[in-house]
């Protein structure tokens, strides 16, 4: 029975890794499409979201069956629960990549503000790198790395505040920037939310390693150092 369980768990890991790669690609492409004003690439991101959603559904079915048939405990249970919960967070990240792509399509042809687009590009790269790093930390089961990644969410929070404030300032003096200015605020919010979901993933790595359910608000995790 143990052998069968291990096999099923391996299948679960493979599908989860596949979903991680799909979402990583979605973030990368959504950010690139926004920066390049590439409507075609943005459409591709939206189309490929179906595959991400299917991954989540498959993982839900697989984890439910694993729990029902094998009733895992201890580290096995934590593995299964982590995948179930993390896949839901990853799916939400995929949804934000879609929202970003929709904004890219809708903004096509509107008045653009270069200085804000530079900041959004910075946020996009940062969010993408955080996500790549958290997948790496998950594969390596690296608690310290997870705690460090959660700290990086602060940058996205600061950038969002900065972009919001600058967009409002520009919109107040320049009427033609109102449409794009409001989109910039939305897009920055999507990227900031990706950071929040990455932080959730960091929390699931802590759960996986230590069995503790924690809230990884940056600056509040001193007692979790290994």
């Amino acid at each position: 029975m143990r052998e069968t369980f291990d096999h099923e768990l391996d299948q679960l890991h493979v599908r989860f890794a596949e979903m991680g790669m799909l979402v990583s690609e979605a973030i990368f492409r959504a950010v690139k499409a926004f920066i390049d004003h590439d409507k075609k690439l943005a459409n591709q991101v939206i189309e490929r979201d179906l595959a991400i959603n299917q991954c989540e559904t498959d993982l839900e079915k697989m984890t439910l069956e694993l729990i029902a048939l094998y009733q895992p405990v201890t580290s096995d249970l934590r593995e299964v629960i982590t995948i179930l919960k993390a896949s839901s967070d990853i799916e939400r990240i995929g949804d934000h990549a879609v929202s970003l792509s929709r904004a890219t399509i809708k903004m096509k042809g509107t008045y653009r503000i270069a200085e804000i687009e530079v900041e959004i590009a910075k946020m996009g790269h940062h969010a993408y790198q955080m996500f790549e790093a958290v997948l790496d930390a998950y594969v390596k089961r690296n608690l310290q790395q997870a705690l460090e990644i959660a700290q990086q969410d602060l940058f996205l929070d600061h950038e969002l505040a900065k972009i919001r404030q600058r967009s409002v300032e520009i919109m107040q003096v320049d009427q033609q920037s109102v449409v794009s200015g409001s989109y910039y605020t939305l897009v920055a919010t999507y990227l900031e939310r990706i950071g929040d979901y990455v932080t959730n993933l960091c929390e699931w790595i802590v759960f996986l390693k230590k069995g503790e359910i924690v809230e990884l608000n940056p600056g509040r995790n001193d007692d979790l150092q290994e």
Partner: protein
């Protein structure tokens, strides 16, 4: 934490070492499950708690029940066994009426009226969910009972002695799943008046009904803690492997 019963550095030898340095406490009104592979020393440990191990076993360390060391020469082991009732995996009903089975020891030890005895019998049979099934059969010489009914009846026989601790050695080993569920319900209801120590091979049973779990392996206490913690995030890799049934380690 305050324990009603605890062992301190308990070691048992029978030519070879059977248990090594076990320090384990049992909080009042809780169920503690003792789990581990066959030959781990679980039953020996349980028997040591109410002095039922064979006399040639050498015991070191202490077993303290309500502040008293049980291995002092002055301890009356028959009194002790009434305070700490024990149930084995195979129920044993004496070849006499159920009433005589129940009253054998109480009538020997206490002078109580028939009506008082009957009140107490009704109470304990209700506690094990057997009153309605057995109330008209108490004086019959032959009563057919299923294995699980026999076990519940044996439990009632112990409860009539008003024990404070209940020692159970795989009490549901021969039960089907519904019988196991019924027996577990009885144990959960009894927790308010007793402290229960349960040796079981059924890991799901330990997870379902115990407050604390202790894992024994090769005569050693590997890990103990709240059952909810042990089954989600044990501290020792041996516990993780055993509970996840990763054998061959």
């Amino acid at each position: 934490m305050k324990y009603i019963l605890q062992t301190q550095n308990l070691s048992i030898f029978n030519g070879k070492s059977i248990l090594q340095d076990i320090s384990l406490g049992f909080p009042k009104h809780t169920i503690t499950a003792i789990i581990g592979p066959s030959g781990a020393g679980k039953t020996t440990f349980l028997l040591a708690l109410n002095q039922m191990n064979p006399p040639n076993y050498l015991i070191q360390g202490k077993v303290i029940f309500q502040g008293v060391d049980l291995y002092q020469p002055s301890i009356d082991r028959y009194q002790l066994r009434m305070l700490m009732g024990m149930l084995f995996s195979t129920p044993e009903i004496f070849p006499m009426s159920l009433y005589n089975n129940l009253t054998l020891v109480p009538s020997y030890n206490r002078k109580v009226s028939y009506s008082q005895l009957m009140t107490e019998i009704e109470k304990v049979l209700r506690q094990v969910h057997l009153w309605s099934r057995l109330k008209n059969k108490l004086f019959k010489k032959r009563v057919n009972l299923s294995t699980s009914e026999q076990q519940l009846f044996c439990l009632a026989r112990i409860l009539l002695l008003q024990p404070q601790v209940l020692l159970l050695d795989e009490p549901t080993a021969n039960f089907d799943s519904q019988e196991t569920f019924e027996f577990e319900q009885v144990l959960l209801e009894l927790k308010d008046q007793l402290t229960i120590i349960l040796v079981t091979h059924n890991l799901r049973q330990a997870a379902r009904i115990s407050d604390y779990t202790a894992l024994f392996q090769a005569g050693k206490l590997i890990e103990t803690g709240k059952t909810s913690n042990l089954f989600t995030a044990p501290q020792k890799s041996q516990t993780d492997n055993y509970l996840s049934q990763r054998f061959g380690f």
